[in-house]
């Protein structure tokens, strides 16, 4: 907890915790300092790191004060009765003694609880949209074990009705990943959960890119099943290493080229390769690794690979066995993105336990919950309650602020956006949920959800309930309420 707070404070001061990694603090909008004018547009991978820029703009918002609320900030003790003020899309004040400014719209939240907006670090909304028809199945480019060149955002269908359902569950930010068929599945994208007609208008401004990697059964099953490489776990590892060798070499060639150009020497540019662009971006510290990996022994091997080639793994996803290597994960600074109740649906998930999150928390490791599912994303608060209760039955004394952190601040940290959102700290984006009651109760619903201070969802007002174009004019919904 204290580490997280430190990280957010550092972030707010404008000093990214990763500032020693070149380029990491600037996000994808940065432009490399090298002079690439010599090359026509599109041929230098590092000339423009953001070819599909975010066009997201916060919706208009009024200065709003939520008063008489039980507040779980995810970044400190619970405030049993306090106020939170949002202005200009930011949180400006939170505490027991905060007085609403005179111009504020005041919401009395007596008997209700305020939390940060929920962040789901593992979702396939938009890429595996509903209706789940083959025509909309765009999550796995399962044609080669290395498809680091594909970007999930190019598959996201903004009209997936699941986005609005997730919003009703308090989800304000989510990461959409490619599937796990491949060793390198491609880039994921962090989205604001706002209704939009283009994915660019949902993209979280300045969020780092992630590369999805996958351990274990999926890649070896998919390609082994086609009599292709890899068909074993050892094949998987050889596949990762071969790709990183190529990426290192690619980056070296581009660095040499840029060095020569900088010195005014004549130089031939290397051929641009989209697949290696992404891997090189990881090696440059600009792109983070989100690694689907269930088993403890495989996670330990992935960590060795990261050391061999010099990159950092941001998070292991699903991570059913993280509790077996909690101390290693803490020392490596790797988050575990896991579940409370999903386990055992395949061999590598057979040792998953409900207490995984609580045990990691007590060991001081970063842990978050996630959905990976269009229904579970609608009640991650209940999932956090189940995980907390299991931990407490084990005597781990998980607190409510810690448990709310599993679905807010910790996922923000896993995605590298914790300086911007994830807790109710003044200065952060005003991503806020007012729950009808205790967020750890199954009976509570998200009454109101604010994104950047603007009302994005109101359970009691259809005017603030986004609806997919797909659901417009459907007779089957006539009479629905």
């Amino acid at each position: 907890m204290s580490l997280w707070r430190l990280a957010s404070i550092i972030g707010l001061l404008g000093l990214s915790a990763c500032a020693t990694v070149p380029g990491a603090s600037d996000g994808p909008t940065s432009r490399a300092k090298v002079d690439a004018k010599a090359l026509p547009p599109g041929l230098d991978p590092f000339a423009n790191l953001d070819p599909f820029p975010s066009t997201y703009r916060p919706a208009p918002s009024a200065t709003t004060a939520i008063v008489n609320a039980d507040i779980l900030t995810a970044d400190g003790p619970e405030i049993p009765s306090g106020a939170l003020v949002m202005s200009g899309g930011r949180i400006v004040a939170v505490g027991a003694d905060v007085v609403p400014p005179p111009d504020a719209v005041v919401i009395d939240a007596h008997g209700r609880t305020v939390t940060p907006g929920i962040i789901d670090p593992h979702s396939h909304l938009g890429v595996y949209a509903t209706p789940a028809v083959a025509a909309m199945s765009d999550g796995n480019e399962a044609t080669d074990p290395d498809t680091a060149e594909v970007w999930a955002e190019h598959s996201v269908w903004p009209q997936d009705p699941g986005f609005a359902r997730a919003l009703a569950g308090g989800v304000t930010t989510l990461e959409i990943l490619p599937g796990s068929a491949n060793l390198f599945g491609g880039r994921s994208v962090v989205l604001r959960n706002v209704a939009a007609t283009t994915v660019q208008a949902m993209k979280f401004p300045g969020a780092p890119y992630d590369l999805k990697m996958a351990c274990g059964e999926n890649p070896k099953r998919v390609y082994g099943g086609k009599d292709r490489f890899p068909s074993t776990r050892m094949g998987n590892v050889a596949g990762y290493r071969a790709a990183w060798i190529k990426a290192r070499d690619y980056l070296r060639k581009w660095d040499d080229y840029h060095a020569k150009v900088a010195k005014g020497e004549k130089a031939d540019p290397p051929d641009r390769d989209l697949q290696l662009d992404t891997l090189a971006g990881v090696l440059r510290g600009e792109i983070r690794i989100q690694n689907h990996c269930y088993r403890a022994d495989e996670m330990a091997q992935m960590i060795d690979i990261s050391h061999e080639f010099g990159f950092h793994i941001a998070a292991f996803h699903h991570a059913s066995e993280s509790y077996k290597i909690a101390d290693l994960l803490r020392r490596e600074g790797i988050c575990s993105v896991t579940w409370a109740e999903w386990w055992g649906f395949k061999m590598e998930a057979f040792d998953g336990i409900e207490e995984n999150a609580a045990m990691l928390q007590r060991a001081g490791a970063c842990v978050t919950l996630s959905s990976d599912n269009a229904n579970l994303i609608q009640h991650l608060n209940v999932e956090a309650a189940l995980a907390m209760a299991a931990g407490n039955r084990a005597g781990l004394a998980i607190t409510r602020p810690e448990a709310i952190g599993w679905i807010t601040l910790a996922p923000a940290r896993a995605l590298g956006i914790d300086s911007k959102t994830g807790s109710l700290l003044p200065g952060k984006m005003a991503d806020v949920v007012i729950w009808s009651g205790d967020p750890f109760s199954v009976y509570s619903v998200a009454d109101q959800v604010f994104i950047d201070g603007a009302l994005a969802w109101d359970a009691h007002d259809a005017a603030h309930q986004p609806k997919s174009d797909f659901l417009v004019g459907q007779p089957a919904l006539a009479g629905d309420r």
Binding site: P131, A132, R165, F345, K346, M347, L376, H379, A476
Partner: protein
């Protein structure tokens, strides 16, 4: 800890064998039966049965007393439409999947009860979710021979999750038929074709039932289904065994209601995501519904009208509603959470609890033994640490057929193996 668990289990087992009497006193009882809700009551158990449920009073001499101290006591939860005990690891370990067959010969005659494995590690894990009994339903797998139109998944079984080598409460409690898009695919690509074929099959069953001797002599017309399938469908066409039909869109539900009326079938609707839109018709037909309380997405073109209010609206219209729960390995150890979600979206608390206890027991015809706390029924009950539908609550005691169950599972054994390695960071 583990030794202690086994010790108390032995005591409990012996207790049952001797017809031990247990009195659970000062309990907040949700009986789900004629006794209603009792703010402070006593449940008396003798052997494997419930002897009485009522307000606190005299406890029989010699009874072992469990003072609930105000805690909630409910019937054990009934997990309905689950592969539990017939599937150990669903994906990638197909040899542990006995819940479906791709045989070209078997469909209606497929009987999951033969595949129940009392040693499944999933059973104690389910039990710790407060589940004491389950309706194990087969699922549909396409026949290897693509010309076979086998859309009956087979027969469901009722099991208990207690101790012993025989968990079967009742085999062949109902037949499972898959319609909608999945049924249409097997029928050659159209749901219209499936309905024609289905009517023909039901006619075949009646003809076969009347003329078994001719069939044996090879003098009957050719039937699409095997002899085993025809036999298995006789109680269905005679309206004695329920036919659970997986069906989703409103138009298909109407077709099923009309088929049931015309053929005299005792139908259960499963799924019925668009059921809310014709709730009065379903209620008038006295057809019960087993539904997924979480289904609120247009997962297919059959489910455009999916709504979180489905359970609430069907119940309000007078339909008998049970809430099914997903496979245990996909969040399904908590049917109580599914019920709680429905309660958060308009279903009254009592109806939500009924939807995971007495209602599915009635729907599947096993309410003579389970589903409520009533004298004469099996003593399958749970003492809860709080509101049973809340995620922060958990069972503190579980009785199945009068035997107190160990609160242990493989899950907890793994936890306790690694807990000592969990240390606060330096």
């Amino acid at each position: 800890m583990r030794l202690l668990g086994i010790g108390s289990l032995l005591v409990a087992l012996c207790g049952a064998a001797w017809g031990q009497t247990i009195a659970i006193t000062h309990a907040h009882i949700y009986s789900m039966g004629p006794a209603g809700d009792i703010a402070s009551g006593t449940v008396i158990v003798s052997g494997d049965r419930i002897v009485s449920v009522g307000p606190d009073g005299a406890v029989p001499a010699g009874a072992r007393v469990i003072d609930a101290q105000g805690a909630v006591v409910t019937p054990g939860l009934l997990s309905t439409n689950t592969p539990l005990s017939t599937v150990e690891i669903a994906e990638g370990v197909e040899e542990t999947n006995d819940n479906a067959t791709a045989s070209d010969r078997l469909s209606a005659a497929f009987d999951v009860s033969y595949a129940v494995n009392p040693n499944s590690v999933l059973i104690p894990i389910a039990r710790l979710g407060g589940i004491t009994d389950a309706i194990v339903t087969p699922s549909l797998r396409e026949a290897k021979d693509r010309d076979k139109n086998l859309f009956f998944a087979g027969q469901a079984a009722a099991i208990h999750l207690g101790q012993g080598t025989d968990l079967i409460r009742k085999p062949s409690i109902g037949m499972v038929l898959v319609m909608g898009e999945d049924g249409a695919r097997i029928a050659g690509g159209s749901r219209a074709a499936q309905l024609v074929m289905l009517r023909a099959m039901l006619d075949d069953v009646r003809a076969y039932a009347k003329g078994r001797a001719d069939y044996d002599l090879g003098r009957s017309r050719r039937y699409e289904l095997s002899r085993e399938d025809l036999e298995a469908l006789i109680p269905v066409v005679e309206g004695r065994e329920p036919l659970m039909v997986s069906v989703h869109r409103a138009a298909d539900i109407r077709q099923v209601l009309s088929l049931a009326r015309e053929q005299g079938l005792k139908v259960i609707l499963e799924g019925a995501e668009e059921g809310w839109s014709l709730a009065p018709e379903i209620a008038a037909a006295r057809v019960p519904v087993l539904l997924d309380a979480e289904a609120d997405l247009p997962a297919s073109f059959d489910m455009i009208g999916s709504s979180l209010n489905n359970a609430a609206r069907l119940t309000a219209a007078g339909v008998l509603v049970g809430i099914e729960n997903p496979p245990i390995y996909e969040g399904g150890r908590t049917p109580r959470i599914e019920a709680g979600r429905a309660a958060a979206h308009g279903l009254p608390f009592g109806a939500a609890l009924a939807a995971i206890t007495i209602n599915p027991a009635r729907i599947w015809g096993v309410s003579d033994r389970i589903g409520s706390l009533e004298a004469g029924k099996d003593a399958d009950l749970v003492v809860w640490s709080g509101d049973p539908l809340e995620p922060l609550s958990a069972p503190t005691r579980i009785l199945i057929r009068g035997i107190e169950q160990p609160l242990r599972s493989r899950d907890l054994d793994l936890r306790d193996r690694y807990l000592p390695s969990i240390k606060a960071p330096p």
